[in-house]
Symmetry: C2
Subunit: 460 residues, 2 copies
């Protein structure tokens, strides 16, 4: 029996206990965006530290000006002096639950249905984060030395743009030193096919507030006299796209790299089809920037979306008012090579130019992050693809992601390390939506993949 086989057998033996740990993990209401969950965040961070320490690593909670992170280190492995150091990154914070009435089971009470574990954070990211921990625990249980040196960094602010991660990386640069960052916060290619994600998009997230009258006004008494903040907000939002659904912000596309024939072919081969998108989203049609395929628009082209907006009376029936205020949350996904700071400024300038002086405009920047692309020729990428392929008994796809992982450009910039993104979540796992889930089978395959990956990275 090889060491890998031994670790695999021990995982099979202890799988139920790992799942119980995952359920405990999921019960912490770690919504980083909502201040009332501050205590939940701290308690959860301490629980993770205790999990890592009981596994055999040296673990501690790293306080930040916001929510704490957890760091752990196995120490140098005695097995192989040339073995690389792998930093397992994850996050224990989750998105807000949204309209709770749409959840079939309570978001913070993990519930098993049809082989899937339903809970907020099950896929993003607690369940996937737990695959790393379970793999490392299984290796420790063999009583052989670890094949590689393993470190963990599990933060609590990923869903709000990781505002304190740069400070953590700067402050603990030496302790966090690693050859590769291992991240499982993406999804499979489809239900059956595993994927390694090579690129992610950047993000600029804005809040716009339009203030008009000092209070809601009767729309008959004052209609026609003063500007309506809701109509004004609609005008501003509408001005940000043209009829071909191109973003109209001056300079927005200036630094976007052209879609080469090779890239177009790669995306056509690996990318999701329109039929897949319609089936997964329930949308009546695909839509977006003219001249690009659905897969291209989602991965190598930037986009601009309203994430939320509210104004005036939104209850049952009708109230005839001119709202005092209207506000919107607007995010842009950036393509490779776009500078978030330039795009942020260009957005502000464009909005200010359109907004009339008959209302008061406030713009705040909630998050900015660059896109990231991993080098295609890294040997570790090949090892990861091999481990994925074995775990799923099906060739892994190398794909591009439309979402944002703010940590990727940070790890590269501060630690000098490239990131390996091995995702185990289903593409339709209701990420950021009600009824988020993580498949039990994917949990198990994920752990087995990581056991193999660690083993292959540090051969004896």
């Amino acid at each position: 029996m090889t060491n890998i086989d031994a670790a695999m057998a021990l995982f099979d033996e202890r799988c139920e206990a790992f799942l119980d740990d995952l359920k405990t993990f999921l019960r912490f209401q770690t919504i980083s965006a909502q201040p009332e969950h501050k205590t939940d965040m701290q308690t959860c961070a301490e629980w993770i530290r205790d999990q890592l320490a009981s596994a055999g690593l040296k673990a501690e909670v790293l306080p930040t000006a916001g929510h704490p992170a957890v760091f752990a280190d196995s120490g140098p492995t005695v097995r192989n002096a040339n073995a690389p150091t792998i930093l397992c990154y994850g996050h224990y914070d989750v998105q807000p639950v949204g309209d709770e009435s749409l959840w079939k089971s309570p978001p913070f009470e993990p519930t098993l249905r049809d082989g899937n574990l339903f809970a907020r954070g099950s896929a993003d990211n607690k369940g996937q984060c737990m695959t790393h921990l379970a793999a490392v625990r299984s290796w420790y249980a063999t009583n052989h030395p670890l094949p590689v040196r393993v470190k963990f960094l599990i933060e609590g602010e990923e869903e709000i743009g990781s505002p304190h991660l740069p400070a953590i990386l700067e402050e603990h640069r030496q302790r966090l030193a690693c050859d590769y960052v291992l991240i499982s916060d993406t999804s499979k290619h489809d239900d059956e096919t595993p994927a390694l994600t090579r690129s992610t998009r950047g993000l600029v997230y804005k809040h716009i507030t339009i203030d008009g009258p000092a209070r809601d006004l009767h729309s008959g008494q004052y209609g026609g006299m003063v500007a309506n903040p809701a109509n004004t907000l609609a005008k501003i939002i509408a001005s940000l796209h043209d009829d071909a659904h191109r973003v109209t912000i001056p300079g927005f596309y200036d630094e976007v790299l052209p879609v080469t024939d090779d890239l177009r072919q790669e995306l056509a081969e690996a990318g999701t089809t329109d039929a897949d998108v319609l089936a997964a989203t329930g949308s009546p049609a695909t839509a977006g920037e003219a001249g690009f395929s659905t897969a291209e628009r989602n991965t190598v082209r930037p986009t601009l979306d309203v994430n939320g907006m509210v104004s005036g009376y939104t209850g049952e029936g009708g109230a005839t008012i001119i709202p005092a205020r209207a506000s919107a949350k607007i995010s842009m996904r950036l393509a490779a090579n776009q500078d978030p700071a330039k795009i942020s400024q260009a957005f502000d300038d464009a909005v200010r130019r359109v907004c009339p002086s008959t209302v008061q405009l406030t713009i705040t920047t909630e998050a900015t992050c660059a896109a990231y692309t991993a080098p295609a020729d890294s040997p570790a990428v090949q090892v990861a693809i091999h481990a994925l392929t074995e775990a799923y008994s099906r060739p892994a796809v190398v794909k591009r992601e439309g979402a944002t992982l703010p940590i990727l450009p940070l790890f590269k910039e501060i630690l000098g390390a490239d990131s390996l993104m091995l995702g185990f979540a289903a593409p339709d796992c209701n990420l950021h939506s009600p009824n988020e889930f993580f498949g039990l089978d994917d949990f198990k395959k994920g752990v087995r993949c990581i056991i193999r990956f660690l083993g292959y990275m540090g051969p004896s």
Copy 2:
């Protein structure tokens, strides 16, 4: 002592008791738009019936398919066979309270501050409605015959567009027969100056719902792939005005009467100034359709306003989603001569034309109503102006109202009666907003005005 003086003296004697009745009236949570207040509506209607019956009228609750109305009749007066019949109209339903945290005292606990009674419905319309009842009770207390025959119709659906009033008027056409309808649901010209309102605008009220994906989507995972309902809603709303703030709906202005030089002069003399509007609303500037004054835009020109809109995540922090749905409440105020049915259809057509097929659009019509203008040469109008002028010791202004009273065209059409609108509320009484109030002094002057009006209309 004349009969009018006798009624006045009796009012002064009983004023505190009438105010206590008004406070009881204001405690009923009669929000007609919210189904959970159904029982409050019925209980309040029965309370009004008992008030009218104890005054000496024959009173009953009239059930409808929605909220009930209350009808009462004094019977023919023995004093003067030629005395006209006056139908006192009012409504006991109120607007929703909106954001309750903005109220300085609870909306349904009437609270006296600085001589003003604060409560939802204090001005619109319970307090003003109570001036009619107190005036009639004062006349009854004199033990002289009433100077005119008095009827009451107090409905419970004015704030939701009076959907069952046409059925009530049709069904009880004979019993409701009258020479004039007396209505106090408008405001004074300014704090010191009483006003008779000669015209009101019409209304078309719409709900628009845009459905995209079957659930909220992760804006990274799907951004660029499908249409965003919030962006689409903004585009539709923005398309309804041009840069000169004219409504772009084809045919919208076709039947609007031109603003004559006389009308322009009347509005310039009687109308509110821009400085008044800025002081009353706290808006940074006046704004609206190019080519018309602020007073013109509010009274004799039609307008289109978003009254509320909502989509996606609107809580604290940010969620990166493509919302499944976006919806808006949009109302248009119509000028004299515009046909609500035509405008309603034109709105739907315009919205459908702009809305792309990549989302699903639903439009519902919540209310339609024509504008109304009372004849300037009616003798009753002159009597009303005289009574107002005496009550306030200051010449009453004849003014035009930007708001809508759906009952006015109905009374004209079904009962053949013109309406006299004597309003006692302050122009800045926070109508439909938090901290709505009615001045105690205006309550008293209002009652005295109505006592005089009834006396003058039926001289012995």
